[in-house]
Homo-oligomer: 206 residues x 2
DNA sequence: GTCTATATAGGGATAGAC
DNA sequence: GTCTATCCCTATATAGAC
């Protein structure tokens, strides 16, 4: 587990086209190291070392270490809106939720590294949110879900099922490390979605 | 979320009797701060401040900052053996696994703070393991589970279901934050165990 | 765009007084 | 058992040469 360098990290980080700009390379390396060692334990010196450049070079592309994490957060943040767009607030039900989870599953499968990064650096990312350099127009998918889970107008059985379902998806795709590297992505996706459906079925009136 | 001081943290940390020794108080405060701010971001100065003592005082009770985390890890580590004792290696099946998860659910409900601490500081705890100050007689529940999940002799559908089930339990009890604080522990336990059973049922030959 | 050199701060850890 | 004072190292960040 945490086998660095074995897999091409750049393969899944192609959002701004495949222009291997220095900035993107820094982000790729940072994503890898932040995930492996943790954000706080990763020094800019280490990033620069792996990059082949000097430490100060990074400051040309990013104002601070925090800015690097912010950029990585933004990579993920944008994807969240895809699922949020189809979300009608106040209409959260079992059926809607199940559909939402299917989307989430696909997004995690497509950008797994980013989700693992966030999972392993929750404290640092939350501090980012608190210092709120991007409070405007910021509505995390996570916050929406948390609201639904806290909604006491819903039955406890439904709320707990929803939390279990999110956990099931996260458990199989994010927390599981490399244990499923022998299973094709597509198959993994089907199995996880099936599990989510079985989990929500008893509390969903379709 | 992460509402510190609102709940009596000492209430669940009564393993060595209720002797509020300085050492235990340090551990309780550290557990709180490590969870809230993250291990790396928490300084000994902060711990000492909240303790009312000076920073160096902590070094009387613990050899290093890492030692504090180790002590907290040990608090949890011991509980793991309870579930491990009933575990017959090589006999991992759906039914065995479901029973194991029931035990895990109860243990998380009883020591939730410790599990949250570990979840939010995976990098630091893993480094602890690597530096192996306690390699002897050390068999984490997590390692056993990871082995089972990686076992290619088992059907992918079973392996993924197991990962989903662990995730479901963790999702509802650990990752969920404070969203279920209005639901009694006992009810929460029943709902989670039901979910785990529904999840494992399709792949369990009973 | 990348480098060297350096300023500055903060945190872990030690020595030894009380 | 607890304290003050201090050492030392590392890491972020800046200034300015090339």
């Amino acid at each position: 587990m945490a086998d660095s360098g074995a897999e091409p990290a750049a393969a899944e980080a192609d959002q701004g086209a495949e222009q291997n700009s220095t900035r993107e390379r820094i982000l790729d390396i940072a994503q890898e190291l932040f995930t492996e060692l943790g954000y706080e334990k990763t020094s800019l010196r280490q990033i620069a070392e792996r990059l082949g450049y000097s430490k100060a070079a990074i400051y040309y592309h990013f104002a601070s270490k925090e800015d690097i994490l912010m950029a990585l957060h933004m990579r993920l943040h944008d994807f969240g809106f895809g699922a949020l767009a189809n979300l009608d607030p106040g209409q959260m039900s079992g059926a809607v939720f199940t559909a939402l989870l299917d989307q989430l599953t696909d997004q995690i499968l497509g950008h797994r590294g980013l989700f693992v990064l966030h999972e392993r650096n929750r404290a640092a990312v939350e501090k980012l949110h608190r210092d709120a350099h991007h409070d405007a127009a910021h509505a995390d998918l996570e916050i929406v879900i948390r609201q639904a889970l806290s909604d006491q107008r819903l039955a406890p059985s439904l709320r707990v099922r929803m939390a279990c379902t999110i956990g099931a998806v996260m458990g199989a795709l994010v927390l599981s490390g490399e244990v499923f590297s022998d299973i094709p992505s597509a198959e993994l996706g089907v199995l996880v979605k099936d599990a989510a459906r079985d989990l929500m079925a008893p509390v969903t009136s379709s």
